[in-house]
């Protein structure tokens, strides 16, 4: 493999037979990196697992040139870092990519560190930005001291370093090209299953209970919703769209929600992909905590409410008349679809 030295690998995260979101963000990074390395190599997605994964060819629309798939029953268990690492390291030994990109999760932190140890190369976590200088040396930026400071690392290791990006910096990728990626099956080689940690059970967090700072979707209710039983409609909407429930300060003052669920200047700062603001006027002390959300929906009876200045979609309506209908429709939609694909 002559051009192999310049190949950029990205590790595909998949679940229940479908590729997960952060993977697409990696393709953009990989393409950018390939360009700065001279453009010769292939953007290669690597899939480790057992059983079919849908949409691998379609990764070509996002810029992947080929997909290497190791489908082996020894990879049936999720999160077995020791087994996956040996599979990945073996593959990398054979192909010799320029580097391996991952989206940082609990899983890849484990996998990345183990693979780097096996390959005797560098593992850089929490990366926010990756650049290549004129000499082809990688430079990574990452936050330290809780984000107070940033450090810049120079990666001089000649072997394929493993880079884990903070998921928050991975931009969403929109499919662009029409070319499908080439899918190649690879073998796993001799890896024994003995020893190591085993996964006994995977417990799903109830999205409604998820820490609002971590949540992808937040449904926030304000004084306009009302207290106690009136607030149930917010929980219902959150359930319907897998959102996490939050409130403005009056809601917390009424003890309808606990303080951990307050958004704002004296509460938490959230940056979800979607926030639905229900019955919220949009005081500066509130918006200080949610301005950075990607998509903002507001529902309020008062068309002059300040919250509409932040809204991508504003609905002038009474919460208690609009939301029950909306929830019914969403719940009905959900009834026909597999649970994981119910997001909209």
């Amino acid at each position: 493999m002559d051009a192999g030295m310049k190949d950029i690998w990205l590790y595909v995260q998949h679940r229940d037979g479908a590729v997960e979101e952060p993977t697409y963000g990696l393709t953009a990074e990989a393409r950018r990196l390939r360009a700065s390395l001279g453009g010769g190599g292939l953007v290669t997605a690597v899939v480790l697992g057992n059983g079919p994964v849908a949409g691998l060819e379609e990764m070509g629309f996002h810029g992947a040139d080929r997909v290497l798939v190791v489908d082996d029953e020894r990879l049936a268990e999720r999160c077995r870092g020791d087994v996956f690492a040996r599979a990945l390291a073996g593959l990398a030994e054979r192909h010799g990519p320029a580097c391996v990109l991952m989206a940082q999760t609990a899983e890849t932190l484990d996998l990345g560190a183990r693979s780097a140890a096996l390959l005797e190369t560098a593992f850089i976590s929490r990366v926010m930005d990756l650049q290549v200088d004129e000499d082809g040396v990688l430079h990574a930026h990452r936050p330290v001291a809780n984000g107070y400071l940033f450090e810049r690392l120079r990666c001089t290791d000649p072997k394929a370093p493993i880079i884990a990006f903070l998921p928050a910096v991975l931009a969403e990728s929109v499919p662009e090209g029409e070319t499908r990626a080439e899918v190649l099956a690879e073998s796993m080689g001799a890896v024994s299953l003995d020893g190591g940690a085993r996964v006994l059970r995977v417990e799903e967090a109830d999205p409604g209970e998820l820490d609002i700072e971590e949540a992808d979707i937040v449904v926030c209710g304000g004084r306009g919703v009302g207290r106690d039983a009136d607030f149930d409609i917010i929980h219902r909407l959150a359930r319907a769209i897998d959102g996490s429930v939050a409130g403005t300060r009056p809601i917390i003052d009424w003890q309808t929600l606990p303080y951990e669920r307050q958004i704002g200047q004296t509460g938490k700062t959230v940056m979800p992909r979607l926030i639905v603001n229900c019955g919220i006027s949009g005081a500066n002390e509130y918006t200080a905590g949610m301005e950075k959300a990607q998509v903002n929906i507001a529902v309020n009876t008062d068309p002059r409410a300040r919250i509409f200045r932040f809204a991508d979609l504003g609905v002038v309506a009474d919460i208690h008349r609009l939301l029950p209908h909306l929830c019914e429709r969403l719940e009905a939609l959900r009834g026909h679809e597999p649970p994981a694909a119910g997001k909209d």
Binding site: R249, D253, Q265, T266, R306
Partner: protein, 635 residues
């Protein structure tokens, strides 16, 4: 009259024990003089002690009782001391003196009983010491035995007239004519006095010395200016070291008489938060007392810091009510800030909600993290000159502040202010992107280094443009620039916008024409009122607006209740208990006014939020004085 040599020896011994008990004080005082550079202020001390104004102040009854005991004990003491010398007074004067002493005895008796009842019936949990009961009882014993001596003497000698010692005369009528009784009562009286003297340093009565010293060596700096902690200020940073308080602060701890006036006026205590300034000071004082005195008189900071919980120290709103009302010039607020500094600078602990704001200040130089590039955006389209422009014609710098630059409501207030200043012919400019947060919130949240770095950046810009006069809209910025930048070499005048406006109105440079037909009350912002003594300009300005019916809130001026937003509390979560802003909002509602006028961005937000949470049919409107004036101005 002392008779035997033994008596003199006893007196001497008592005085020696007393002095030994006070042995720690001279060292502390020396330290105060040397390290805090506070000279004795005899003039103030005399007017304080003779006039008793500060003690009577907020609590007339207790204050007058104190005045009574002070003179009732002090004067007889002087008379008795003189009686040791063979002086002969004219009969008339001697008789008058005797009458005065007699009446004073009665007054002390009444006051003593009053104090005793007060202390015994007060809530025991708040750090009010019971130690005061012993000396009080002793005092009563001294007075009563004095009357018995007098009565027995009169019974035996029947000298003098009834009018000269009415109480003694009454006593004499019920006492037997017994020389033994008189002698016994005399000795009893004498020993009681000796005991009182011996106990001075060990009971509550030590406040006689401790409080007096605190008043004598009072801090003469401006009350609004925090000082750069007891650490070492180096070129770039403050090294907090292991010292939490300087000597002057420790002197204050000794002086606290646990009267609870601070707590009575503390918004946090009133709202039922854990903070109680009296308990803070008393707990610190107790710690100080228990600690051995190391060389140099400094005591381990962490020991003191442990005496106060984090929840207590973060509940303070910096409103200065405790400082205003303390009769012996203790400043609980400064203790609280000292403790916060220790918590932040030594341990890096701060409530989680405040961390993003501090980080914004560190990275962007403003509390909202908008960045200095946007700091001038509020003035868009107004053509306000920047001091950086060439040929700028400005007599004053308009200090905008983070709220003026970024808070949606306060940006409008600033635009109105520009209108008013222009109408008044004031030539002013702004710093635009070169302004940074003044550092008030950072400093009061305990991040002294951050304050210093922000203040230095601002000072550099002031010096660059040779700024001589500043007008600020935010009372916090006003106070910080005026009183705290001095230590960094500031040498400029600072005005608050309301003072400026009052001036313009007085000189008829702006005319107010359009009426505001509303009943309106003034909410005195702490950092204008208590901290800087600006009360009247707010009222002058509002009175100049036609149609306004000005009323006063029950708690106004020095006693005004804080909105709850000072000392960084704008960024801290209010723990359950009452919200301070709702407490104030209720006072405003009960006053029945249609609007309330404030002159502070934090007050505005706090009151608006507090009144909003009452969910009234027609809530009183919250207006900034600047808005009121702008609306009434003739175009």
């Amino acid at each position: 009259m002392l008779t035997t040599a033994l008596d003199y020896i006893l007196v001497l011994a008592a005085v020696i024990v007393m002095l030994a008990g006070f042995a720690r004080r001279p060292a502390r005082v020396r330290q105060v003089v040397e390290e805090s550079r506070r000279p004795a202020d005899f003039g103030y001390f005399l007017s304080y002690i003779l006039g008793h104004g500060r003690i009577v102040g907020g609590r007339p009854l207790a204050g007058i009782a104190h005045l009574a005991v002070f003179w009732g004990v002090g004067l007889p003491l002087v008379v008795i001391a003189f009686a040791q010398f063979p002086l002969v007074l004219p009969a008339g004067i001697a008789g008058l003196l005797s009458l005065v002493m007699d009446v004073l005895g009665l007054v002390v008796l009444a006051a003593g009983v009053y104090f005793l009842i007060r202390r015994l019936t007060s809530a025991p949990d708040l750090g009010a010491p019971r130690r005061v009961v012993v000396p009080l009882l002793l005092l009563l014993v001294i007075v009563l035995s004095g009357f018995v001596v007098e009565g027995a003497r009169l019974r035996l000698t029947a000298a003098g007239y009834a009018w000269q010692s009415p109480v003694g005369w009454c006593c004499s009528s019920v006492l037997p004519a017994s020389p033994l009784l008189m002698q016994a009562a005399l000795r009893f009286h004498f020993f009681a006095v000796l005991l009182f003297v011996v106990l001075l340093p060990f009971t509550f009565m030590r406040h006689l010395l401790a409080a007096s010293l605190n008043v004598l060596y009072r801090d003469r700096g401006h009350r609004g200016a925090l000082t750069p902690a007891a650490g070492v200020v180096t070129e770039n940073a403050l090294l907090a070291g292991d010292r939490l308080f300087d000597a002057g602060q420790l002197l204050e701890l000794d002086a606290c008489v646990a009267c609870g006036r601070c707590a009575e006026n503390c918004p946090a205590a009133l709202a039922g938060k854990v903070l109680n300034p009296r308990r803070v000071v008393q707990n610190l004082a107790r710690c100080l007392e228990a600690a051995p005195v190391p060389a140099g008189g400094n005591i381990d900071a962490s020991r003191l810091a442990d005496a106060v919980s984090a929840e207590e120290m973060w509940a303070c709103t910096g409103c200065m009510a405790c400082v205003e009302h303390c009769p012996v010039l203790v400043r609980p607020l400064v203790k609280v800030i000292g403790l916060r500094r220790h918590e932040v600078q030594m341990h890096g602990r701060m409530p989680a909600e405040a961390v993003p704001m501090i980080r914004n200040l560190e990275i962007y130089g403003d509390v909202d993290g908008r960045g200095c590039a946007h700091r001038g955006d509020w003035a868009h389209g107004l053509d306000v000159p920047h001091l950086s422009e060439r040929d700028v014609d400005a007599e004053m710098l308009l200090w905008v502040g983070c709220q003026g630059a970024f808070h949606p409501r306060y940006r409008e207030v600033l635009r109105e202010l520009v209108k008013i200043l222009r109408a008044g012919g004031v030539r002013f400019g702004i710093l635009g992107t070169e302004e940074r947060c003044c550092g008030d919130a950072a400093r009061r949240l305990g991040d002294e280094n951050l304050f210093l770095s922000l203040a230095r950046e601002n000072m550099d810009v002031f010096n660059k443009y040779g700024v001589r006069r500043i007008v600020a809209v935010c009372p916090h910025g006003y106070n910080t620039l005026k009183n705290e930048y001095r230590e960094l070499g500031a040498d400029f005048e600072v005005w608050h916008a309301v003072e400026c406006i009052a001036d313009l109105i007085r000189n008829r440079r702006v005319t107010l024409r359009y009426p505001l037909e509303k009943s309106l009350a003034i909410h005195d912002p702490c950092y204008l009122g208590r901290v800087n003594g600006i009360y009247e300009p707010l009222r002058t300005v509002v009175r100049a607006v036609p149609g306004v019916r000005l009323t006063e809130l029950p708690r106004n001026r020095e006693r005004a209740l804080c909105c709850g937003g000072g000392a960084g509390r704008m960024w801290l979560h209010e723990k359950p208990g009452q919200s301070i802003n709702q407490l104030r909002a209720r006072e405003i509602r009960e006053c029945g006014v249609e609007a309330v006028g404030a002159a502070c961005p934090f007050c505005l937000t706090m009151l608006e939020d507090g009144i909003g949470s009452l969910e009234l049919e027609s809530p009183p409107r919250v207006l900034d004085i600047v808005e009121i004036v702008a609306a009434s101005m003739a175009d």
